[in-house]
Amino acid sequence: MPDAAAFEGFYREHLARIVRACFLVTLDRQVAEDVAAEAFARLWSRWGVIVSEDHAGGFVFKTAMRLCTRELRGNRSGLAAAVGHRDQLDEAMVRRDVTDALARLPLRQRQAVVLGDWAGFGTREVARLLGTRESTVRVHLARGRAALRATLGERQVDDG
């Protein structure tokens, strides 16, 4: 039998990070929590096969990103809904502006920025998690950052 206690420890340690990453990509808290739960459930179904925690972290991030992509591509109205929900999610102006700016980014750029800048993965890891080439990730990162800066303006950036 797989070690449920070890899984629970991993789950509690990584849940918030995964949900937040999913939220930044989907811009929908409910979708983010659902996607994270499914990614962890898939991890649990393979727990014991995936041995080290490093691999488990990579697996759950990769699965979550795929599920995010599936959710957004499967539901085109999801993005609009996410923008509509943002007021419920964020009371602070900054948060609203950030989610607005993220919502305007193409999905791949948003994923690259979230994984590369927010989650702190290197270009190679981001490429592996997204199933694409490093050079492509660099392009997405550069364009995503530029778009965010342009949308948010130097004021917020400087305030930050």
Binding site: Y11, A16, V19, R20, L24, F40, A41, S45, D90, R95
Partner: protein
């Protein structure tokens, strides 16, 4: 870590997400994950079973080759041979013998697609157990010969019983005959006894049609496995037969004595109490059992090694049967009778005698 990380963007993103506290769904995650695991293993197992089944089926189909249409073929089955084969009507049948036998099966026959007579080195054509001279076998011919194996006690190991229908792939090729046809053979084992040999020859120039017909002929070879046969006209049902109890020798012998006394007195009611339900009712089926004065019953143990019972009723009956010898008190063993008994819930019952 990403050495090219844009910390300003990172901070902005973090502001949007840092206060999000996710709901704890560990319970549902574990349940859903467990279901996924179960489905995955079930799927893998099912896929494996289907794959192995498909491979097995394919192997069976390939191994058996295309089924030959044998409609219109003739059947060879000699007088009380206990076996038969089918052959194309235009082929030739050479009955070598209808009397030689092994294990209760009789007769030997050769079937050829060409004009050829099987002989042994002496020139005889009626020798069931001899060697066969293949000199002059036509290159375009094929042939099958089915003959008794003869008795070869203890020289060869025991093999599992042959399963029917046969496939040509069941036959073993020999090193062949220099300049002659390819040669194949199959020993046929029934009830733990090597009873017959099936031999086949394929000429170097034989047509595909004749080879296919030869395969069909081999597939048609059938040995009668129905019981009873041989020395017995009936066999006991094994429905509620129990394994031998702790005192089979004494109890079985007592039942045998009761049987003989009832038979001697002509008491059908008493006889019915000790005769197995598988046997016909009445005194007449036991007319051959000697009940002259002076007989003694001697327990002889299980019948698992008794060739008569193994052949006549099968190995399962033999291993469940206990033998009691009725010694008629004379020096002649030929006048003695062996009784065969099985143990039912209500006691030991005589089911046969020889």
């Amino acid at each position: 870590m990403n050495e090219e990380r844009d910390l300003v963007v990172a901070e902005l993103l973090d502001r949007a997400a840092r206060e999000l506290v996710p709901e704890d769904r560990l319970g549902s995650v574990l349940r859903y994950g467990s279901r996924r695991r179960w489905k995955a293993w079930t799927g893998v197992t099912l896929a494996l079973v289907l794959f192995l089944g498909a491979v097995g089926w394919a192997a069976l189909v390939v191994g058996r080759g295309p089924r030959m249409d044998r409609s219109g073929w003739q059947t060879y089955s000699g007088p009380r041979t206990g076996w038969s084969l089918e052959y194309p009507p235009e082929w030739r049948v050479q009955v070598i013998s209808e009397t030689c036998e092994t294990g209760g099966y009789r007769g030997a026959v050769a079937v050829t697609s060409v004009d050829f007579v099987f002989r042994n080195p002496d020139g005889r054509t009626d020798d069931c157990f001899g060697r066969w001279v293949l000199a002059g076998f036509p290159a375009d011919g094929v042939a099958v010969l089915v003959h008794p194996a003869g008795i070869r006690p203890g020289l060869f190991g025991r093999e599992p019983d042959t399963e029917f229908p046969l496939s040509f792939h069941d036959l073993t090729g020999t090193s062949g005959i220099r300049g002659g046809p390819r040669e194949y053979y199959l020993p046929i084992w029934i009830a733990g006894e090597e009873v017959y040999f099936l031999r086949a020859w394929i000429g170097t120039g034989a047509s595909e049609g004749d080879v296919a017909a030869l395969r069909g002929l081999v597939a048609s070879v059938t040995f009668d496995l129905r019981y009873p046969r041989g020395a017995f006209e009936w066999c006991p049902s094994l429905h509620d037969v129990s394994v031998f109890g702790p005192q089979p020798r004494r109890q079985a012998t007592a039942a045998a004595e009761e049987f003989v006394e009832a038979l001697r007195d002509g008491d059908e009611k008493r006889l019915a109490e000790v005769v197995d339900a598988s046997a016909p009712v009445g005194l007449s089926p036991w007319a051959g059992v000697s009940t002259t004065a002076g007989w003694k019953a001697r327990s002889r143990g299980p019948a698992s090694g008794d060739g008569l019972v193994v052949f006549g009723c099968g190995r399962a009956v033999a291993t469940s049967t206990w033998r009691v010898l009725l010694d008629d008190g004379t020096p002649s063993a030929s006048l003695d009778t062996t009784l065969y008994l099985v143990q039912r819930p209500e006691g030991w019952k005589v089911w046969g005698a020889y």
